[in-house]
């Protein structure tokens, strides 16, 4: 039998996961214009809250998952309110914001480890995992859901940014914050909204990670880094770009470890990033 269909399937699964984390990151970058590393921690929070409600409190997924997502959004809001908003008011450089977000990430990771211990946790499925034939490859139902969720969220974000008042306001801030303020957009409120949305999307990705592979406090950074790579090679700040980049990264990784040995996976991913930064710095979609 041929290995290729499975490789394609694997790429699609990984692509969906990368998309989920990349979307929120790229949205925040599009408006706030800095690399928010704390984004990785938002995902982890979503996963762990859901875990607690599901396993420790024994609630139904219909409650646990939404609450987990909201919690991630809430944490994002708090971090924005206490750290990023003041810094932006001071017109700090985006390197300051980058370092601050790194600090915020480190704190959140440590706190999570204190609450839930460092031990790896995976979200339990009600019914046994079912495998599905998919383009000659095999994927699980969870992964199919992840794929659907990724594409739906991407679509939702695009529609939101294009067709709603808030969305257009956010796009305007992304284009030029000063102008946006002049035309009477409450940039601070919108910025908070952006971070909440980003956090919510991150939460979703954290929960899917919890279901598909499981989570531990440190999972945020590797997860985010893949998201960052995806966002950048796709064209950072661009929703379509995030999706494209995520799937491109996934394909390169999976076919890469098919031909090269698996232990070089990370090197492959970052090699791809550096190549893009060198030869197509604004990503696939931006010229």
């Amino acid at each position: 039998m041929s290995i290729v269909p499975q490789l394609v399937a694997n790429s699609i699964i990984a692509g969906a996961m990368y998309t989920l984390i990349a979307l929120g990151f790229t949205l925040t970058f599009a408006t706030a214009k800095f690399f928010n590393l704390a984004h990785g921690a938002f995902a982890t929070v979503g996963g762990y809250i859901t875990y607690s409600l599901l396993v420790q409190a024994g609630l139904s997924p219909w409650i646990a998952i939404p609450v987990g997502i909201v919690a991630a959004g809430a944490v994002a809001f708090i971090v924005h309110h206490t750290v990023f908003a003041p810094l932006r008011k001071r017109h700090s450089s985006n390197m300051v914001l980058l370092v601050a977000s790194l600090g915020a990430y480190t704190v959140l990771q440590a706190v999570i480890a204190m609450i839930w211990t460092s031990e790896f946790k995976s979200l339990p499925l009600k019914t046994a995992e079912r495998s599905i034939e998919f383009l000659g490859g095999i994927i699980t139902r969870t992964q199919l859901f992840a794929l659907i969720a990724a594409l739906l969220i991407a679509a939702a974000l695009i529609i939101f940014l294009k067709f709603t008042r808030a969305g257009r306001a956010i796009t305007a801030i992304g284009d030029d914050e000063e102008v946006a303020r002049v035309v009477g957009i409450n940039t601070n409120r919108m910025m908070a909204l952006v971070f909440v949305i980003g956090g919510v999307v991150a939460g979703v990705s954290g929960i899917f990670t919890g279901y598909d592979t499981g989570i531990e406090p440190g999972v945020g950074m590797p997860l985010l880094l893949k998201g960052v790579i995806a966002a950048i090679i796709g064209g950072v700040g661009n929703i379509y770009g995030a999706v494209l980049g995520a799937f491109l990264l996934a394909v390169v990784e999976n076919f890469g470890i098919w031909k090269i040995a698996a232990e070089w996976k990370d090197a492959i991913a970052f090699g791809l990033l550096i190549l893009f930064l060198l030869f197509r710095p604004r990503g696939i979609l931006q010229k």
Binding site: F35, S93, M95, L98, A100, G103, V107, V228, I232
Partner: protein, 288 residues
């Protein structure tokens, strides 16, 4: 006593690393997250030359520094294309790649097995086996690193570095080929990192890839930001405080499982608070 000496030695090693990194980040404004890879190159080069070829430490050290410098030249050439946060990201990428190489080029590095049994340095028949003598060696290294960094910082070169940090295109119009300066300072920073690596390898007498991850680079960034960007004494202060801090926490008597996390939390909080209230660090002369 041995314990305090040990802590002092580690502080010295990190001071050397920080001095090198501060030239790159603090003076030139290049947010490098790759310092650990040159630290590792220095450590591995020394380790291999000592264990396989029984070379004298100081010769091995020089070769290690040279190797790190060559890699820095190549990596720096690529990195010179980037600015600010993209620079940070790309340099982080290189750190990951170098780390992966340490892990996977097993016929050179023995991969995760690591390289044990590295001999302590000897000079004219004198063996730096005792920790006290090694501490003296480390202090000498710090002194050298400090003098090198100070020489660089006070030269016209150092002034140009700051100007690059402030406005590179404008400086070019006044006759500076800024690429050369960025490469040179990156190489110097890497060379100092390699010096620290050689010390680390011969102090612990064992190296494996786990010491050269991106977390190490990030920790070093925290060290120089805490101590103060573009201030050399600040780098030493930062190294000392961030090495001493966790050792003090050993005596505070947190429940052991919390203590470890507490350390992480403190690092993180430190970074956030600094960025909020003192973005140039404690003794810093440059705001990111």
């Amino acid at each position: 006593m041995e314990y305090l000496i040990n802590v002092a030695i580690l502080a010295c090693i990190y001071a050397v690393l920080a001095l090198g990194l501060n030239l790159v980040v603090g003076f030139t404004g290049l947010l490098s997250v790759a310092q650990a890879s040159f630290y590792g190159l220095g450590a591995y080069a020394t380790a291999i030359l000592l264990t396989r070829f029984g070379m004298n430490f100081f010769l091995a050290l020089l070769i290690g520094v040279a190797i790190a410098a060559v890699f820095a030249l190549l990596i720096g050439l690529v990195l010179s294309k980037f600015k600010d946060d993209y620079y940070a990201l790309a340099s982080l990428g290189f750190n990951v790649i170098v780390y992966t190489a340490f892990l996977n080029l097993q016929n050179i590095t023995r991969g995760p097995l690591g390289i044990p049994g590295i001999a302590r340095p000897t000079l004219f028949g004198f063996h730096f086996t005792g920790n006290l003598s090694f501490l003296i060696l480390s202090l000498v290294a710090v002194a050298i690193a400090y003098l090198v960094a100070q020489f660089v910082a006070r030269s016209s070169f150092g002034r140009a570095l700051k100007a690059i940090r402030e406005d590179e295109p404008a400086l070019r119009v006044f006759g500076y080929r800024t690429l050369h300066f960025k490469l040179a300072v990156f190489v110097i920073g890497a060379a100092l990192a390699a010096l620290a690596g050689a010390l680390f390898a011969t102090y612990i007498t064992f190296v494996d890839p786990s010491s050269f991850t991106i977390n190490e680079s990030i920790f070093l960034l925290a060290v120089i930001i805490l101590g103060g960007l573009a201030n050399l004494r600040g780098s030493i202060l930062g190294a000392v405080s961030l090495i001493v801090l966790p050792e003090i926490l050993r005596f505070v008597g947190f429940p052991t499982e919390v203590a470890a996390q507490m350390r992480q939390a403190i690092y993180g909080a430190l970074l956030v608070i600094l960025m909020l209230y003192r973005p140039q660090g404690l003794m810093g002369e440059y705001k990111l």
